[in-house]
Amino acid sequence: MTWTLRFAALSVQISRRALLAGLCLMALLLAAALLAVQTGSYPLSSGQMAAVLQGRGTGIEQMILLDHRLPRIAAALGAGAAFGLAGAMFQTMLRNPLAAPDVIGFNAGASCGALAAVILTGGMMLAGAIAGAALAAALVLLLSWKDGLAPGRLILTGIGASLTLTAAADLLVSRIDPQTASDMVTWLTGSLHSRGWGDAARVWAGLALLAPVLWRLHFPLARLAMDDGIATGLGLPVSGLRLAVAGAGIVLTALAVTAAGPLPFVAFAAGPIARRLVPGGKPALLAAAAAGALMTLLADTAARMVPGVQLPAGVFTALTGAPVLLWLLLAHFRKGTL
């Protein structure tokens, strides 16, 4: 069931299934956000929250809610959405569920780039992350490209690049002054620990700037998911589109990694979850963004709920995502498509 909205010569299509899935995900996100605001080493009741929001809370409550929890949640949602979008875009464009930026080394490239930028300039993490992710993407795709991307070659090259770049990031951290280094080490495991409004604002501003581009790309991307011959036959500029999609995906990956570190498996799992919720062979970018945001927020909340230790959110996304990767690889093996 699809609705068409018309205004003069313009027309936009909305499928009921996508709308339903979107609303469900929004409701889940809201519930997860409410849970995340209240839980933590200093639980806040709804009454306390209301008090703070009306400006009547105690100093400590005010600080916890406004300076710690809310920005952290906002950063988690933004980073998760960016991961989800990037994953779904690369997977759709390369027609390969394994081709997610976290699985094939783009996340690791982004973290290397961010660290290098910090060492060289003392800041500029986002610019460094973009450059790093772009270099990693170029490297992996060039090395594994031969008349298209065979899943096996892509996954092997990508994992190799990922391992190398992760090791390089560890090396780079050792070159940073000890004070920043400890923060960076937590960040490198994929963590939203001590994220502030600045981090949240950067990732959301990036998403807002990219939104029109993504909306514009969404339409041809669905057609690029067929083979190149079909896409060209339908009049799409295939190479230009690929470049645009890869560019947007790289910026999204860099935004997410800058905010949450190279959080594993969110980009990888969000796309397939979204496609399951919105079937019909569409890239389902909005649903992927929501799924990524939900995964990231839940993982970060879970990490904060474990008492006594500072666990990074990456532990929980890996715990849920890695089995899915294994399952997918096994499915590929069985079908003989690896």
Partner: protein, 260 residues
């Protein structure tokens, strides 16, 4: 050789890295005709069709559509005049027949113009013509080979182009379905005046349905013309290395090959 035809190959060489396939090939697809391209395996039939449709780069020479090199025209404007169905097209899982056919409207759409009334009408017409209206809601992978092939043809029809190129549309179909599909193509050609060119494996079917034939051998045109001129014992012997007799098809009068 009508060098006024809308779609032509002029001294065209093309191929793949390290494998030249087409060798200075010159051919024209007659306007309003039903052209069958035949030839042995790997002689370059698909390469010719794909290069004519700008899916592959031309080396030397050029593919010409409406008087201009096709590779130098806007791909979107080409897609409104020429539709191609490649040999083994792939679609993402879960795509329904209607969504597939709707994608044929891509050259008329954009993010802001996603679904005009003309789009809806063209898709309905294409589904109707291919007898797929009843299957519109089914996902592609749930269809039989013949239905799937018709769905893909419906997508190409929804493009509403004057020229339609099909690469072996009858593969994987049993004889009754091959005939049904070729009759559909013939009807499209005759009733809507579309120019059709298709690669066909079965020489007898090609001879029966085509108005013009192009026989390829080793990336060159061996001969071309009406079926009666192309399907001769000498041509079959040199192109396919097939000793045979040719008799008139008792039902249609077209040349019929009986392998010796």
């Amino acid at each position: 050789m009508p060098d006024t035809a809308r779609l032509r190959a002029e001294d065209l060489s093309a191929g793949y890295a390290g494998t030249p396939v087409l060798d200075s090939l010159t051919a024209a697809i007659p306007d309003g005709g039903l052209t069958a391209i035949v030839g042995p395996y790997a002689c370059g039939k698909s390469t010719l069709l794909r290069t004519l449709a700008r899916l592959q780069p031309a080396g030397r020479g050029q593919a010409v559509l409406d008087g201009k090199a096709i590779h130098r025209q806007s791909s979107r404007s080409v897609a409104r005049r020429l539709a191609i169905l490649p040999q083994t097209p792939a679609a993402p899982e879960g795509l329904t027949v209607r969504d597939l056919v709707a994608r044929g409207r891509t050259p008329y759409q954009s993010a802001l113009w996603q679904w005009s009334r003309q789009d809806a009408a063209a898709v309905a017409r294409a589904l109707e013509l291919t007898n797929m209206t009843g299957h519109a809601r089914r996902p592609l992978e749930a269809l039989s080979g013949g239905q799937r092939q018709r769905a893909w043809i419906a997508m190409a029809l929804a493009q509403e182009t004057g020229i339609l190129l099909l690469d072996e549309p009858t593969t994987y179909l049993d004889l009754p379905h091959q005939i049904e599909l070729l009759k559909l193509v013939q009807r499209l050609n005759r009733e809507t005046g579309r120019t059709v060119a298709m690669v066909l494996h079965d020489i007898n079917l090609a001879a029966r349905f085509a108005s013009h034939m192009i026989a390829l051998k080793d990336g060159r045109v061996f001969c071309q013309g009406p079926p009666a001129e192309v399907i001769t014992e000498a041509v079959l012997h040199s192109v396919f290395q097939l000793p045979c007799r040719i008799i008139p098809d008792p039902l249609h009068g077209t040349p019929h090959v009986i392998p010796a």
